[in-house]
Amino acid sequence: MTGINNKKKVVFFLSVFIMLIFFHFFGWLDFVRRGLRTVVVPVSSFLHKSGNQIKNAYSYFSGNDEFFKNYSQCLSESQSKKFLESKVLILENEKIELEKQLNFKEKKSIQSVGAYVIGKGIENAEKILIINAGIEKGIKVNQPVITGDGILIGKIIKVDAEISSVRLINDNQSKIAAVALNKDGSLGVVEGGYGLSVHMNFIPRNETILNGDKIVTSGMENEIPKGLLIGAIAAVKNELYQPFQQAIIVPSADLSKIYLVSVLLTN
């Protein structure tokens, strides 16, 4: 008798559950979700910020040797960058002159929305960040998300009224059209690998790519503009029996310690 009652309860629960799935599909449960989120979102935001601070403090004390090594490397890189900056400035002035001569219209700058990271995705198989900006601030699906001056970290995949989900570039389902800043301008697709690596695939075998070459977005996707920095090549796999080359990329941003992002309102 108890077994029959339990079976009836389980069947009743399943029917209620299926009904809730339909309600959720039509958006009738949004007010319930918002109500439940009001408690969780501030706490998750505080926990995420505190977690990052603790990780930063730990790496400061535990990695002194590596810290000094990275510091001296940064110093030498900044000196070479100063030279590159001056070259870029000269090229920009030349570009402006050429555009004037060809009567090009100036491109409007892309608007962006700043947001704080308030949590991470709950599933371990997906690398997702939750940010505190949503439909109310003009955010839409597939918009690129950057940090710093223009380092691409991911794309918007889900938008609610006040929060959005960002799929990071090292997520397994992330695919971004990219180009290497080498002499061949090699095109490829940057894909993630379960949060542990970022690869650039489908690079033509006859093109030369080297360690240290910068990878930027190619602009071939509608919503992602050209020129957003993704990372630099750390290793190249070029096997004779494979039709394409593959490169392992080190992202320019530390994807585990992001707390402030900008969403480019490209669509």
């Binding site: 309860k9 991470k120 939750i130």
Partner: protein, 180 residues
């Protein structure tokens, strides 16, 4: 009034469980941050209370989690539901001893079933939405193995500790002896 208070109490418990999960994700180092505390809570509640109470709690927990996940609401919640149902059937019909070893075995099986169902349901929704079918490759198995092993060990440890308190410090034993 009592029913309303009980409802609010369980809602607060669901929120706390999700907050603890965020705490584990943000503060614990890899691979310990892979522990699935929500499964730990549901499984232990399942063993110490009733099946029905546990599966009703899946709904509010899934509604909160859906905001922090890219997958559809139904995928995670149906995976919890079916994995707990199958494990519950095995626990109450076959493995009735409820020793620590049985709990370890059933929690491992429950986690494996959860992953399998989650993979099937989320891909079914992807196919229904005309997206790509995602095959698990490479590091997926490594990360899942860490999650299953740490979660099962955590459940077993908590179960053994709770069992000591439940049996030794349970005053109902004293009352039963006094009545005799």
């Amino acid at each position: 009034m009592k029913a309303v208070l009980r409802f609010v109490f369980w809602l607060i418990i669901c929120e706390l469980v999700v907050i603890v999960q965020f705490f584990i994700i943000d503060f614990f180092p890899y691979p310990f941050n892979l522990i699935n505390f929500i499964f730990v809570f549901l499984f232990l509640l399942f063993i110490f209370t009733t099946v029905v109470k546990t599966i009703w709690l899946i709904i509010p927990i899934s509604l909160i989690l859906e905001s922090f996940s890219s997958s559809f609401f139904a995928a995670g919640s149906l995976a919890f539901f079916f994995s707990l149902l199958i494990v519950g059937f095995l626990l109450f019909k076959f493995f009735t001893s409820h020793s620590g070893f049985v709990v370890l075995l059933s929690s491992t099986l429950g986690m494996i079933l959860f992953h399998v169902f989650y993979f099937l349901f989320s891909n079914a929704i992807n196919v229904a939405q005309k997206k790509d079918f995602l095959w698990p490759v490479g590091d997926f198995f490594k990360e899942s193995a860490w999650e299953i092993s740490f979660t099962s060990l955590f459940i077993t440890t908590i179960y053994v500790l709770l069992l000591k308190f439940n049996r030794r410090f349970n005053p109902s034993y004293i009352y039963k002896n006094e009545k005799k």
